[in-house]
């Protein structure tokens, strides 16, 4: 299919203490429960490099869900795109904020902790939170710039293309091939219980033709091609891919609305007819253009997202959710 498209990123990445390269320099503010979300939002407000995560999980989670929440929040908090993480806790919740902070620190990420009840209410917590962000910013300034190549990156791909007709699916299969050939790690979300598997991925240069199974939200141990179990929810897929360390997420867009992710930029490839009204919002629109050009356009869009804010990031339009297993109690 010709030479792999070189990664053209307009800006260097940053090398983290862990050795991984990130393509963003975000400071993440994570509420460990929904009751701390407003404080987290207020702490991040007005600070352009701070991103607060909102989720809907509270203190009434049963064991499995509480574990999943901790797994995902830890994954997001330790992501290479994140220069530092502030955990905001209420104080009485199941997913203990302090434990979350500790597990993030144990992964080698710089992190701070603020407890609303411990601080003495919202006002004090917000002040303490902003101070903590300042400390994180100061420490992260030392992260050196680094050139970003395909082989530094994990690209996450949402599952939506797996059920599409061949004419559309082949674009994504070919993009996957090219990424793997260029040395990128690809994490493909696969809907649990679905029989749809990536087809047409020849996996040249990838010794594991079928893709290595990966648990939801879990960073892969090495490089290569991974199939991550995920629910049908597109939000949960993005979140899981980000928690698994995807630097950039590729979203085949054919339903719902274009949406970003707080930790990783999302590149939308519009699939008609649904996506046509969104031509101005997606990065690439699939049409009758020959396959190699479409594939090139997608790869260029992925590369561009590494160095520049996407239009969605500029609009502040991101979403996330932690997939819930059991009902809340």
């Amino acid at each position: 299919m010709g030479e792999a498209v070189p990664l053209v990123s307009t800006a260097p990445g940053r090398r983290r203490p862990s050795g991984a390269v990130g393509v963003r320099h975000h400071f993440l503010v994570i509420p460990s429960v929904i009751c701390a979300a407003q404080a987290a939002l207020t702490i991040a407000e007005g600070m352009p490099d701070a991103v607060a995560i909102e989720h809907q999980h509270g203190c009434s989670q049963l064991g499995g869900d509480a574990h999943l929440t901790e797994l995902v929040l830890t994954g997001l908090g330790t992501h290479p795109n994140v220069a530092g993480t502030l955990v905001v806790s209420l104080g009485c919740e199941t997913v203990q904020g302090l434990l979350l902070h500790r597990s993030i620190v144990e992964c080698g990420q710089r992190a701070e902790f603020v407890g609303i009840q411990q601080s003495g209410g919202t006002g004090a917590a917000i002040a303490a939170g902003r101070e903590a962000l300042g400390r994180l910013r100061g420490a992260a300034a030392a992260d050196p710039e680094a050139r970003v190549g395909w082989d530094d990156l994990r690209i996450g791909i949402e599952a939506a293309w797996l059920g599409m007709p061949a004419a559309q699916a082949r674009v994504f299969a070919e993009v996957t091939d090219q990424l793997l050939q260029a040395g990128a790690t690809v994490i493909q979300a696969v809907r649990e219980g679905s029989s749809e598997q990536p087809a047409g991925v020849s996996a040249l240069g990838n010794p594991n033709r079928e893709g290595i199974p990966l648990a939801y939200g879990t960073p892969p141990a090495g490089r290569g091609y991974f199939l991550m179990a995920a629910p049908e929810s597109r939000i949960a897929q993005k979140t899981g891919l980000a928690a698994a360390g995807a630097h950039v997420i590729l979203s085949p867009f054919a339903s719902g609305l274009p949406a970003g992710c707080p930790v990783a930029p999302v590149v939308h490839v519009g699939v008609g007819p649904y996506a046509r009204p969104f031509a101005g919002d997606v990065d690439v629109m699939l049409d009758d253009t020959p396959l190699p050009e479409l594939v090139g356009a997608v790869l260029r869009a992925l590369g561009k997202a590494c160095g520049e804010e996407t239009a969605l990031e500029g609009m502040g339009a991101f979403e996330m959710a932690i997939h819930r297993i059991a009902p809340t109690m």
């Binding site: 929904i34 009434s60 499995g64 109690m329």
Partner: protein
């Protein structure tokens, strides 16, 4: 009969606030709701509901009921719905049919994100003008429906704040108003006490049914109800067992007859004390009560929780002076004064009741001043039981 000043709505209800609400009908529309409402006088909420192919019909129905109820709460003067496609947008019809002033933006039909944002602002403007023209009128106290809630409970919750709230609940019920007692999981262990006060054997049976149902669903998931309740924070605060927590929690409803048991987000058909089946999750519970028509809530807290609601004032009552002082940014009243001897249960209850009336007539709560707008979609929790039943 004492009268208070409230907003009279075409739906027939009375509002304590005059909000214009921008409401996303699906998760993907949440960011658009935020983009449209931000910087205007409108308020908004965000949530994570994605209609999925394998969605249970009962789940869809519960969530639709919640969204419609929230949009038609009398505190809302007008609502702008945001949907991605026409299908969720179908909720516009029941909302309008209830008499609510409402409009809709379907993003996929509005020319993408930018087009939708412009259309949203355009459709919001007349709703804001409409709200600006609404004013308060004399209303009976019986128009009030009070949500009661406790969160971050400690061992004092059942000794100070909850019984004091119970006194206030009694005042409101005696004045012809409605009080909702909810959080089914936190009534486990107190059901006999509540059933004793039921208006009829049928109501008593309903009380047992909803509480046993929650126990069953937790068991069916292979979990121990004690795993989630009491929480580590509750335990640190002195609560030892779920029964201790529930007996304390039940006190919020006061001592009057339980007139009805309703499902999540269902409007009571009667005035007086009503029990609603909701999860113990603070945010979902508040949403359920507000969706059923509660215009104001009192939320007792031992350890201090800051949450509120985008469209209903939530009055925070601390169980102890330590928390009331520490979290003074977030606490409105201190029931710890009962322990200090400066208030009795009765006098504290009266203070809470008077705060309810003052807040209903415009006084802002701390949660409102801080801009709290917590909102969470509650999913139908009993699917696992229904499955087991059909297998048999």
């Amino acid at each position: 009969m004492e009268e208070i000043s409230l907003y009279h709505r075409p739906t027939g209800g009375w509002g304590v606030r005059n909000h214009v609400l921008v409401l996303p009908l699906v998760a993907s529309a949440s960011s658009m709701a935020r983009a449209v409402a931000r910087g205007t006088e409108a308020t908004w909420v965000e949530h994570d509901y994605e209609p999925l192919h394998d969605d249970l019909p009962r789940n869809h129905e519960r969530i639709a009921r919640t969204l419609v109820g929230f949009a038609t709460n009398p505190n809302v003067a007008a609502v702008l719905l945001i949907a991605d496609t026409g299908e969720p947008g179908m909720l516009l019809e029941p909302i309008r049919a209830a008499g609510q002033r409402a409009d809709l933006v379907i993003v996929a039909e509005a020319g993408g994100l930018r087009g939708a944002m412009e259309q949203g602002r355009d459709r919001l403007a007349p709703l804001l003008s409409h709200a600006a023209g609404c004013c308060r009128e004399p209303a009976p106290i019986s128009a009030l429906m009070l949500g009661t809630e406790c969160g971050g409970s400690d061992a004092l919750s059942g000794i100070t704040a909850n019984p004091a709230l119970g006194v206030a609940s009694d005042h409101l019920v005696d004045a012809g108003g409605t009080v909702i007692l909810a959080e089914t999981t936190e009534l486990i262990g107190a059901e006999h006490l509540l059933a004793r006060r039921a208006a009829s054997p049928a109501v008593a049976e309903e009380i047992y049914r909803i509480i046993h149902r929650y126990e069953a669903v937790v068991k069916a998931h292979g979990e121990d109800i004690r795993g989630a309740n009491p929480t580590p924070g509750n335990i640190e605060g002195g609560l030892t067992t779920i029964e201790e927590k529930s007996l304390g929690a039940a006190k919020k409803g006061g001592s009057r007859t339980v007139g009805e048991v309703v499902e999540f987000a269902v409007r009571p058909s009667t005035h007086g004390l009503v029990i609603m089946d909701t999860p113990g999750n603070d945010i979902e519970q508040m949403v359920g009560m507000v969706a059923a028509g509660c215009q104001v809530a009192v939320f007792t807290t031992g350890r201090g929780t800051p949450t509120g609601s985008a469209i209903a004032p939530v009055i925070k009552v601390a169980t102890n002076s330590h928390t009331a002082g520490r979290m003074r940014d977030n606490i409105d009243l201190n029931a710890g004064l009962i322990l200090e001897g400066t208030e009795t249960l009765q006098s504290m209850g009266r203070r809470i009741y008077e705060a309810i009336l003052a807040v209903a007539q415009g006084e802002l709560t701390k949660a409102e001043r801080l801009g709290h707008r917590e909102f969470a979609i509650s999913r139908y929790p009993f699917g696992i039981l229904d499955e087991a039943a059909t297998v048999r």
